[in-house]
């Protein structure tokens, strides 16, 4: 093997050719130029590492806090501006994570859900001053319609936040977050997460093997039922048997020694601190605005008037910024990436 210390790299430019990266290097010991060739990294994203958007790469604790904050604000918000900001933030983030095509398809679907939910309220609730028309001798009010729309917007926003949640806070991050407080739980969770796919696979194998033996292979209902009882029985034995060996493997590697530590791949970086800071400032700002009555709003008996003026705009802007944080972070990274490629 060539000693890497006595190779001087004269050209940083790597030339890709036939799947290899080539560059010319000069051997410092005898001054000869050589061509260094190494395999080019595969461009294929073969599921080795699940691709994550920029926001999702932040520290799990920060992400978790953000989610708590956003869900809390959305669920208790009544102000139309807050709801609009929450929905906008959730949808744009979903779009950044999943692409335009999926997002638009989902948007169409949830528009339907929104309408359905919005219509439900005026059917059951007849409060409000402004009667629009009568249906079955009952008044349908504008306030009830608008309140229904607001509630529907809230629910749809929460759904979109939760849809993003799956990609942002994956199981290993959740495990990391609660592993320290409840160590046993995190181990058990991790083990069961590993076990379920195995169980499913084994169930498929047993099913095939038993079927090919001609046991309960008739098409009748009783046979099919009995077949599943047997399948479950066999699966149980297999599971217990395997658990013994897994326990052996754990013991062999010193499980049960005193002072177990916890390893994770996550590191709290500067950018996590920055995000946390931004979140803190925005939360304080909105809190102050809320105390100042900037988000005060009611639907019954009549729709309250919107606050106007500079302060009102500023406090709305704070909310928009807070909800748009994930989207902005993703977009900023995408733009920076494009620029860096030039």
């Amino acid at each position: 093997m060539k000693n890497h210390t006595d190779v001087l790299i004269v050209s940083q430019n790597e030339v890709p050719s036939f799947g290899y990266l080539c560059r010319s290097v000069t051997n410092s010991s005898d001054g000869r130029r050589e061509l260094e060739v190494r395999a080019a990294p595969s461009r294929k994203r073969s599921g080795m590492e699940i691709f994550m958007n920029e926001f999702s790469r932040r520290h799990p604790a920060v992400l978790f806090l953000y989610y708590l904050l956003v869900l809390f604000l959305t669920m208790f918000a009544v102000h139309p501006a807050a709801l609009a900001a929450s929905f906008g933030g959730a949808f744009l983030f979903y779009l950044a994570e999943n692409g335009v095509k999926t997002a638009m398809k989902d948007l169409a679907y949830y528009c339907g859900v929104f309408l359905l939910l919005a219509v439900l309220n005026p059917i059951f609730s007849h409060n409000g001053e402004t009667v629009l028309f009568f249906m079955n001798d009952r008044p349908v009010t504008m306030e009830a319609i608008l309140y229904g729309a607001a509630m529907a917007a809230m629910i749809v926003s929460v759904i979109f936040w939760c849809k993003c949640y799956q990609t942002v806070l994956t199981t290993d991050k959740v495990l990391y977050l609660f592993g320290k407080t409840v160590p046993r739980l995190s181990l058990v969770l991790s083990m069961s997460l590993r076990f379920f796919p195995l169980l499913k696979e084994q169930a498929g194998r047993i099913g095939k093997a038993q079927k090919a033996m001609g046991m309960y292979a008739k098409d009748s209902l009783t046979d099919r039922l009995l077949f599943h009882v047997r399948l479950f029985d066999s699966l149980l034995t297999w599971m217990l048997e395997n658990a013994v060996e897994t326990a052996d493997s754990m013991k062999a590697r010193g499980y049960g020694l005193k002072g177990r530590s916890h390893f994770s791949l996550f590191r709290f970086e500067k950018r996590d601190g920055t995000l946390l800071g931004a979140m803190g400032i925005l939360t304080l700002g909105t809190g102050a605005a809320a105390i100042g009555g900037m988000y005060r709003f009611h639907y019954y008996p009549g729709i309250s008037a919107m606050q106007t003026g500079l302060w009102a705009v500023a406090s709305d802007l704070l909310l928009v910024l807070l909800f748009l944080l994930p989207f902005l972070i993703d977009v900023k990274e995408k733009i920076l990436w494009k620029i860096s490629l030039r």
Binding site: R194, G214, A252, S261
Partner: protein
């Protein structure tokens, strides 16, 4: 050099049994030594290995002593016992604890309470060395068998053991992954001086890498010598009329088996290269081929299995696994299909067994379209499948009950059933195990019990998926005899396997499965002598001297014909 491990007069018997699992075993392993332990399944290897690792020691009556670096095993601290002796078990799957690869690697170090910074560095270094960095973030359930076992090895090595014990680590792996694994062990031993104690059935690649080989039988050490001296050792045993010689010889590499009869100064040949040199130096080789055997012909016979241009995929969006596969097997014929892991061999069997429906092409069983069999009639004394994992067949508490369940499908009276069970158990040498729980049997015995259950169904066509997985060489010979016997009774056998040596000996025809089709289906002599890489050790040794000699038996016979030159 200092002893890493010393075992003195170790005798062990499991609680309820009076039979000794280990009988006065004494040996020692020096620091940096690579020692291979081999023997038939059930010879006590696993019991011995487990006793060496305190945490895994089975319950029973133990006499004698085990010393680790001069300290008695009992006196080791818990931490030392866990970290200094690394143990890799047989099943790659069930040893893995965590759901992510990186977490699995860290598991042992977490147990030892190492700080996060230390774990991060060690895990990173190890992942790099083993090439794990490419699948570092993957789920452990998504790895291949070879990767899983490599991960198990890496997670044990992360704890920096001084002695590495491996109990048949490659038994569940395909030959290519197994050979990678052995190469890694060899490298660990040579480049890092790691002391390795390995138990293996497949000695072809292990023996040349080892410093010493220990052969066991019935709980006793029968030989403890350098690999080159094994041949000489066996000869000494033969002079004493030891009945074990053929058993032990069977598990040896091809070169040892072929040249066992001939005296040779110095160490005997172990590898294919040494075998080639030996053959060239000591034989004249005028006679190139054996007289043509009175081979069975199946051309005229009725077709038991017939596949024509079969295409199959699991999901519509996924690529095809079978791409125009065609295959025919006559009644009473043994056909083997060889191929790498994940090439779709098992899928091929499942399509033939009617478990998967092809989207194009025709499958005929016994001259009848497979879709014409209704209500499971395909499996009524007609076609049976021996799955890769024998455990998937067992449902009951004992082997006998499992057998009875199968027998009831064919025979009406209990007397007939018991009679058939007795016959099958005798045929497979399973009589002592009939009252045991199927999961309590060893891997090889489980395989035999699964085959027994299938045979009780009286199939006309038998499909076998990797039948030699986990079997020792001796059991393989038994399986070859049994399969030939079944073939003589007119039963058609179709097997998929990557065991080249086994297929060469058992089959009437062999084919290679590649790119979704069966290519180059031919008689084993032709098939293996045409191949340069995918072929038997005997063929590789003799291809320059002899014509179409592909099994150790054929090469030995030709050597005998030619006569030994000194």
């Amino acid at each position: 050099m200092e002893n890493q491990l010393a075992v003195k007069h170790l005798t062990f018997s499991y609680g309820e049994e009076t039979k000794k699992a280990l009988d006065d075993v004494s040996f020692s392993v020096k620091k940096g030594e690579f020692v291979v332990v081999s023997g038939r399944s059930g010879c006590g290897k696993t019991t011995l290995f487990r006793l060496l690792k305190r945490e895994l020691a089975p319950a029973g009556v133990k006499e004698g002593e085990i010393f680790f670096e001069g300290t008695p095993q009992e006196a080791l601290s818990d931490r030392q016992a866990a970290a200094d002796i690394g143990f890799v078990l047989q099943n790659p799957e069930s040893q893995i604890v965590m759901d992510k690869v990186w977490h699995e690697l860290a598991f042992g170090l977490e147990n030892l309470g190492e700080p996060v910074s230390v774990i991060r560095r060690r895990v990173g270094e190890m992942a790099n060395y083993f090439g794990i960095h490419q699948w570092f973030h993957k789920k452990t359930a998504d790895l291949s068998g070879g990767q899983k076992q490599m991960l198990n090895l890496a997670s044990v090595l992360l704890m920096r053991p001084k002695l590495l014990i491996l109990d048949e680590p490659t038994a569940q792996m395909d030959p290519i992954a197994a050979s990678d694994f052995i190469a890694t062990l060899k490298k660990l031993n040579q480049e890092f001086g790691m002391t390795v104690l390995l138990c293996e059935h497949r000695l072809e690649e292990v023996l040349p890498a080892a410093h010493r080989v220990i052969l066991m039988e019935r709980g006793k050490i029968v030989m403890d010598t350098a690999p080159g001296q094994v041949s000489a050792g066996l000869k000494q045993m033969e002079e004493k009329k030891d009945p074990l010689v053929p058993v032990l010889l069977q598990s040896m590499p091809g070169a040892v088996r072929i040249f066992y009869q001939y005296d040779c100064p110095g160490p005997g040949p172990l590898t294919v290269r040494e075998g080639k040199e030996f053959l060239a130096a000591h034989f004249d080789c005028r006679i190139k081929s054996l007289p043509a055997e009175e081979g069975k012909t199946f051309e005229e016979k009725e077709k038991a299995i017939s596949l024509k241009n079969v295409w199959f995929r699991y999901e519509r969006e996924q690529p095809d696994i079978l791409r125009g596969a065609s295959l025919e097997a006559a009644k009473g014929e043994i056909v083997s299909i060889l191929g790498g892991n994940g090439s779709g061999k098992t899928t091929l069997l499942h399509v033939i067994a009617g478990l998967q429906k092809p989207h194009r092409g025709s499958v005929q069983i016994g001259g009848k379209k497979i879709s014409a069999y209704k209500n499971g009639s395909l499996y009524r004394q007609n076609l049976s499948l021996l799955p890769q994992d024998p455990q998937t067949l067992f449902i009951k508490e004992t082997v006998r009950e499992d057998f009875l369940e199968a027998a009831k499908l064919v025979w009406k009276t209990p007397k007939d059933c018991q009679e058939q069970i007795r016959k099958v158990a005798e045929l497979l040498e399973l009589t002592p195990f009939l009252e045991r729980h199927p999961y309590d049997l060893s891997g090889g015995e489980q395989q035999k019990a699964a085959l027994g259950k299938i045979l009780l169904l009286r199939p006309e066509i038998l499909l076998l998926d990797e039948p030699t997985k986990g079997l020792d060489a001796w059991a393989k010979q038994g399986l070859i005899r049994l399969m030939k016997q079944l073939s003589d009774q007119g039963i058609t056998l179709l097997l998929v396997s990557h065991d080249v040596e086994f297929c060469a000996e058992v089959s009437h025809r062999c084919g290679l499965f590649f790119d979704g089709t069966v290519i180059s289906l031919d008689q084993p002599q032709v098939f293996f002598s045409e191949n340069t890489f995918y072929t038997t050790a005997a063929s590789r040794i003799s291809r320059e001297q002899f014509h179409q000699a592909v099994t150790c038996g054929q090469v030995s016979a030709l050597c005998k014909e030619n006569g030994f030159l000194r």
